[in-house]
Subunit: 262 residues, 2 copies
């Protein structure tokens, strides 16, 4: 399927599964909405297809990855963390619902996301072993050796380079999303290359993000970030070689992400 | 095994698996220490044995339940939640490590706990289907229809009785712990009775807790809570009948919990 078709598939599925009823679920749904780029769930679905599986049957896993990503945005934005009042052009979750509800909405999103690995449809379509492998891959990318650890380093707890922080905060979940796709696609030998692919794509994505954040076209400032984005994109493409023509859609994603202007 | 033997087994396992290295892991270990009663992991292990399984092989699941319980304590104590400076007679996690690290430690504990459902030893000993069933049971008890939802109601978001809040905040995880035990004990027909047992035990535990919190012996005040504790204890015992003599250790736990004075 094309990226656009997969995007529609995912948005429809998300729309049909948005939490509702009560303030915590409202806050969860609010955070999940708001025009996210849905890169991580797309990466799951595209990786599934590249690995020879069906995107539809992997939708619960794509939703899981988006819920986990959204949890991290909600908690990272909190006043005691990055203290961001806006997210995707709207007031952030805690600005809209208060800090207590935002903490709980993040906890709820994280719990929901990981619980989706036991979704009956996902289990039926892919098998229990595969679901548990995905759970292990995801929790490793989230916890104290992944996003949680990266956010602590980003806040200044401990010594780490920008690259190490980006690896934990961004690339780990990109890598996990692609590896989840390989697992659900049913092609064990593609787990490592797709994981590497996802991580390189995550690093490229972060470099582009940092370049766009500069809000300048001065090549002295943008040059090094542009070079990093291209280096990581090339590494991502190199990992796709093993897939042959099946990697075409993923290669297109690399190109679009590394050239985006907003 | 006796309650004391199971307690030692669990403490040794926990001690060997405490997170270490970096401030978030330190905060996770700090919150996991500090003389908790370990009721929920004990409940897992005792339920496993009552259902005919081996407690040793269920240790990762017991640790998972304790990690999840500890996450909820760390987040509930936060300044924007219950704002508790002390926990188990020591400064609470955020008083010791700061609010940002406490939020991350809670996230890390929750992630770690749920990830333990994919622990290789647990999978080998009990099977992938059983591990995923446990994941589903646990996440249902934690999320927006469990502890997370209960904490929101407790903070005043939405209308609910004290009983409904206690059910979500306390009884749900007790019920899940006992059901996880039934699943890992390998006796499907005991899932529902052991889940009911755990929930009733949780309600009895909460009533005793509330009575002790009164810090008075005035029977006009303690009477209704004592009566509730006894009613819920009787309900818990009734659920054990199906187990016959295998329910003896669990019955002993009911007696000790309902009669405790501290």
């Amino acid at each position: 399927m094309s990226e656009q078709a997969l995007r529609t598939l995912f948005e429809d599925y998300l729309g049909a599964h948005l939490p509702q009823g009560g303030v915590v679920r409202e806050a969860m749904a609010y955070a999940l909405g708001g025009g996210g780029k849905r890169l991580r769930p797309l990466l799951v679905l595209m990786a599934v297809e590249a690995a020879g599986g069906s995107a539809e049957s992997a939708l619960p896993a794509a939703l899981a990855v988006e819920a986990v990503h959204t949890y991290s945005l909600v908690h990272d934005d909190l006043p005691d963390m990055d203290n961001d009042d806006f997210r995707r052009g709207r007031p952030s979750c805690h600005r809209t619902f208060g800090t207590a509800v935002a903490i709980l909405a993040g906890d709820g999103l994280l719990t929901w996301g990981l619980g989706l690995m036991a979704d009956p449809d996902l289990r039926r379509a892919h098998g229990d072993r595969e679901c548990l492998e995905c759970l292990a891959v995801l929790t490793a990318a989230i916890g104290d050796a992944g996003m949680v650890g990266g956010q602590a380093l980003d806040l200044g707890f401990g010594d780490a380079s920008r690259e190490e922080i980006d690896q934990l905060k961004t690339a780990a979940l990109f890598g996990a999303a692609a590896e989840v796709g390989a697992i659900l696609g049913g092609t064990e030998r593609l787990r490592q290359p797709l994981r590497n692919f996802g991580q390189a794509l995550g690093r490229a994505f972060q470099a582009v993000d940092d370049r766009l954040d500069l809000k300048t076209a001065d090549p002295l400032l943008t040059g090094p970030l542009q070079a990093a984005a291209e280096r990581h994109s090339a590494e991502a493409l190199r990992q796709l070689l093993l897939l042959g023509p099946a990697g075409q859609e993923l290669a297109g994603l690399v190109a679009r992400l590394s050239q985006r202007q907003a």
